[in-house]
């Protein structure tokens, strides 16, 4: 019951907004290229289903593979940095420096490295963008541990790796998932923008630029819709994963009266 209640408000809001969008366009009747109506976008999605589906598959692969690689690298770096002082002194400034680079601006350069039509360059952009929030947040979660919990483990003569496993990693989980929610949507943006500059030509990015270039805005919007769906699916997958990985967390939130 409660979950239903939680979902009904955003669904109603969405339906009302779509209705307004459709209605206002019907009233004002601007030319189609300014903003197509939702019905036209859905129509274009159905008419071009095969291309859009294929594009979503390719872009989706870039997003998911880049996301996974970025998560793995981010977590490994966080573990290294919290474990070894020298790793902290070398990796952390390097990561901060890399993060200061507008990574998306590197897309044309990466294309040169990996080949203009290779999805590798797009994946590399996604990895580079996902890495930083995962790394920073996980590091914080691994190090900001209740002092008495560490002392307790030391009083049991627990080894460092045991303390990491029993205390630091569970403590870092909420931090990690907060970062992952950010990273998931960031990954979709990164993949599509990177695709504007190169990679496979049947991906969503090129589909948007080409359709827009040919003034087929309803098709461009259909591709954007597909990208939105990838982002939404990923976001809910992360929420689900969070529940499975931290069943105790929903208890804490229920206790403190949050959603």
């Amino acid at each position: 019951m409660n979950t239903l209640k939680g979902f009904s408000a955003p669904i109603v809001t969405g339906v009302v907004l779509l209705g307004l969008w459709q209605g206002v366009l019907a009233l004002l009747d601007p030319q189609g290229f300014v903003l197509p109506a939702p019905s036209e976008i859905v129509g274009a999605l159905i008419d071009n289903w095969d291309e859009v589906f294929q594009g979503a598959r390719i872009t989706g692969f870039v997003v998911v593979s880049g996301l996974i690689a970025g998560i793995i690298l981010g977590i490994l770096a966080a573990l290294l940095v919290t474990r070894f002082r020298t790793a902290n002194e070398t990796i952390t400034p390097l990561a901060v420096a890399v993060n200061a680079v507008p990574i998306i601006a590197l897309a044309p350069i990466f294309n040169n490295w990996f080949g203009l039509t290779s999805p590798r360059s797009n994946q590399a952009i996604v990895v580079a963008l996902v890495f930083f929030p995962i790394f920073i947040n996980t590091t914080r979660g691994l190090s900001q541990v209740d002092r008495s919990q560490i002392e307790l483990m030391e009083s049991y003569a627990a080894s460092r790796s045991r303390i990491t496993r029993e205390v630091r990693i569970p403590n870092a989980m909420p931090f990690f998932f907060t970062a992952l929610k950010l990273a998931a949507s960031l990954a979709v943006i990164a993949a599509i923008v990177a695709e504007y500059f190169g990679g496979r030509q049947d991906a969503l990015g090129p589909m948007i630029t080409q359709s827009a270039g040919l003034t087929r805005y309803d098709e461009a919007w259909a591709a954007v819709l597909a990208g939105t769906l990838i982002g939404a699916v990923l976001y809910f997958a992360v929420l689900l994963l969070e529940r499975v990985a931290m069943p105790w967390n929903s208890l804490i939130r229920a206790q403190s009266g949050d959603q």
Binding site: Q149, E151, L152, S155, Y156, P170, W248, Q255
Partner: protein, 273 residues
């Protein structure tokens, strides 16, 4: 000078003398030695605690009572002097898991159920699953929380969490229990209730307890000995024996109780000056 240690030795190895649980000699602690933020936390501490005693460390903030407790726990090493627990270096006693510990924050792991929290030290000691389950159930009975075995800590009140922390500290039957202001964050009623619970458990388990507190009535109510500490650098100002017999509901209104409270308060005033 040289005769003093040999006399002590003669006493501690003498026939019928119970072995000391804690034996601290000339322990000092200096944090950040040689740096601009150097702090002399403890100065020349001598303290011995026999088996079955309930010792409280009391004193103004910054008197080093938590530091002293951490020396005993071997969570930090002394700068000079020796700390022995169960007639061996404190470090070895820690590796042998000779003591259990509880803090002001219960320090329970949110990701473990109440039972699993109590089992944690037993897991680290390689107990079998069945033995762990049985012991956790026994401990939950001891702290009267059996019906919360499968709850998560966040579902429990502060007092209940503290009882779980005590159950965890005692789960492997250590001969020594170290407690750092464990009831400091509880309201007065819960606090008094927890004090009675702790005394009951102390008697049932025959554990030696070292207890850090700010509260004079708490110190007098719980202890067999109150150790009054002085600040900057931390030292032992006086040791007050408390003999009030078995505590019960009327103890807190007993004139003898108030006399002791006054005695400790006077000692603390002297320290503050």
């Amino acid at each position: 000078m040289s005769e003093v240690p040999s006399m002590d030795e003669a006493v501690s190895s003498g026939q019928g003398a119970p072995p000391l649980v804690i034996d601290i000699r000339g322990a000092t602690k200096v944090f950040n030695p040689g740096k601009s933020n150097q702090v002399e936390a403890l100065d020349e501490i001598d303290l011995s605690v026999g088996p079955g005693e309930f010792i409280t460390l009391i004193g103004p903030s910054g008197c080093g009572k938590s530091t002293l407790l951490r020396l005993v726990a071997s969570l930090i090493p002394p700068s000079t002097g020796t700390v022995q627990v169960n007639a061996k270096p404190a470090e070895q006693a820690r590796l042998d898991r000779d003591y259990g510990m509880a803090f002001q924050t219960a320090g329970l792991f949110d990701w473990r159920t109440v039972t699993k929290n109590i089992e944690l030290p037993l897991e680290l000691m390689g107990w079998s699953r069945g033995a762990r389950r049985r012991r956790a159930a026994e401990m939950l009975e001891l702290v009267k929380l059996s019906e919360f075995a499968n709850h998560h800590p966040s579902e429990l009140s502060g007092g209940m969490q503290q009882r779980v922390a005590i159950a965890r500290a005692l789960s492997f039957s250590p001969s020594l229990l170290l407690m750092d202001e464990p009831f400091g964050a509880l309201d007065e009623m819960t606090r008094e209730h927890m004090q009675d619970e702790l005394l009951r458990i102390w008697k049932e388990t025959e554990t030696t307890v070292v207890f850090v507190t700010h509260s004079i009535p708490e110190a007098v109510y719980l202890s067999t000995q109150v150790v009054v500490m002085s600040p900057r650098p931390g030292g032992i100002a006086s040791v007050i024996d408390v003999d009030l017999g078995d505590r019960n509901a009327s103890t807190r209104d007993d004139p003898a109780f108030f006399t002791k409270v006054t005695e400790v308060r006077t000692a603390l005033r002297k320290v503050e000056e």
